[in-house]
Subunit: 340 residues, 2 copies
């Protein structure tokens, strides 16, 4: 079954989306369905000399702008490229949806068309970031701005399943993002979430600080969507300013320029590792289906990485794992949860 | 008048504190008073061959541990090195205090001994971070975990004075750290703080996202102490992992190693720019006196940078500027503030 790609969503849509989709389809020998204006998409495919039958087009007459209100789009644009892509999954014609468009709209479409996974109360966006020991799952990075403690517990369960299934970590270590290691350190939300996580049966490592998000100390970092989103974007900002500083220093003197030229392969690999495009998409957890939300700025590389993630998530059946995990939550945790 | 240095506070106290203090005293021709165990401090000074009268010792018989409860320390250790340092300022024997020790204890001592500045309701810790256009003031980075909207307004006023006096920016642009540029984007706190800032008379640039903290778009970034602290430590974590990645790539092949050797001066300058020690201390704003809180891990370099910051803050009379600014808040802002 194909993966559905919202070909009209994103700052560089549809050109970069189509390029990324074509690259992913070829790399993975994976059928893809692009949703959007057929004429424009056909033109993009023609430009790329795509003749193979791996990439098909599903017409969608509307497009949701990046700054449009998600709820308004949901009501007023039933035939938008993201709505059509989500519908394909809901109706069993596609096995996952990928969008680099308006992320609020993508989330709203996924929630309404795919429905929530059993026992999941809120969806969460989970980002896969680099760490010293490989990768770390950070969630929520933007689906829920104001959270209750029990939501953080759900995020922890969902993030653990993600780490198990996609990263292959048997018993993922979960950290609660806070401002000190002691249980009593943090804001009202994290202090109330701490005992829930401690009694959850998960491998809870306690509070972790910002310095430890990338240290490899934990596999899953749990936080509310406001702080997660700020953190994610801070990371992008840091990567940019560090890249600039390095470029500046390496171009200041002749000797540095010569050294940089000799080491250009290594520096190029380093820049690639700083590139958000390599970390592609974020997985929307908690809905009954695979939905990958890619960065609005996505270039072709980022789009193809996001499609890869959607493919892996379907192959390892993250959704089924998640429903199992939420259903088998130990009773004491369920009770504590009900109390809040 | 000397600056008082809590010589027993910090992971590497007293050796690194004394080394940093001596370096700063010589660089700035500035008298300093070290507080702590006289015998140990004399030994450190002897080791550094310090004979000049710029550095004096004020005995303090107690030390607050890094993980000690600040309120307990305040009650039980009236003769701690940080208490003695704060008292020197309060009694007019020193013009600023610098501590790399338990930051909660430093804050508690500063608040109780120096008192709050007129009209300041809560203190805030302001960090000076690198940006594409120079420096950016970020506050609060840890003094107030759960904030009310009016506190963010006070932070904005205090941060603006800091940017004016220490960075020399006539009319600093202030951004509210959030997750989208529109006023309606954000969590409950930022959405309520937005109109207060918009009506404050400050040069309010609206919401800024994580990506823009370092872009130079604003001179002052306002946020609650929980998110500010997480952000600050994330920055440290990022710098570390980026440094590691660069080192890894540059040591993988011979050509890269040779290139790195030729460009070693530039790479060294780059690493220095990533080093937290260069950004030394954070200024505690809102108290009636200059108090600089340095990183617990501070080495001598970080300590001397923190002392520099204390020196600049006293020279430019940040405290007087702050009291003026809070006192002259336009009436409409004061009204809006009272409503909350």
């Amino acid at each position: 079954m194909p993966i559905a790609i919202d070909a009209m969503g994103g700052d560089h849509a549809p050109a970069e989306i189509v390029r990324g989709a074509v690259a992913a389809a070829r790399e993975l020998s994976l059928p893809l369905t692009l949703t959007g204006e057929p004429a424009r998409l056909r033109e993009e495919l023609r430009r790329l000399n795509v003749l193979d039958s791996l990439v098909t087009i599903e017409p969608a007459s509307q497009t949701v702008a990046m700054d449009e209100s998600p709820t308004a789009a949901l009501r007023q644009k039933p035939d938008s490229s993201i709505a059509v892509a989500a519908r394909l999954v809901a109706q069993g014609h596609a096995e996952a949806v990928v969008s680099a468009g308006n992320s609020g709209a993508a989330m709203a479409e996924a929630v309404t068309k795919l429905g929530m996974a059993a026992r999941a109360e809120r969806p969460a966006i989970a980002s896969l970031l680099p760490s010293k020991r490989g990768r770390v799952v950070v969630l929520d990075v933007g689906a829920n701005v104001d959270c209750k403690p029990r939501h953080l517990l759900d995020f922890a369960r969902m993030g653990s399943v993600y780490a198990q299934r996609v990263l292959g970590i048997q018993r993922p270590r979960v950290g609660l993002l806070s401002i000190g290691e002691e249980p009593a350190k943090g804001n009202e939300l994290t202090k109330a979430a701490y005992p829930l996580l401690a009694g959850s049966g998960l491998d809870f490592a306690g509070n972790i600080e910002g310095t430890d998000v990338f240290s490899g100390a934990v596999d899953v970092v749990v936080c509310d969507g406001f702080i997660g989103n700020v953190a994610l974007k801070l990371g992008e900002g840091f990567a940019e300013i560090f890249g600039d500083m390095l470029r500046e220093e390496l171009s200041r003197r002749w000797s540095a320029r010569i050294g940089a030229w000799i080491a250009r392969g290594a520096l190029c690999r380093f820049r690639k590792r700083l590139d958000y495009a390599e970390y592609g998409g974020a997985l929307l957890l908690g809905v009954r289906g695979v939905c990958v939300i890619a960065h609005g700025r996505s270039n072709a590389r980022a789009v193809s990485r996001a499609i890869c993630l959607a493919y892996q998530s379907t192959r390892h059946d993250v959704v089924a794992g998640l429903e199992e995990s939420l259903a088998s939550a130990p009773p004491e945790a369920a009770e504590a949860t009900q109390g809040r």
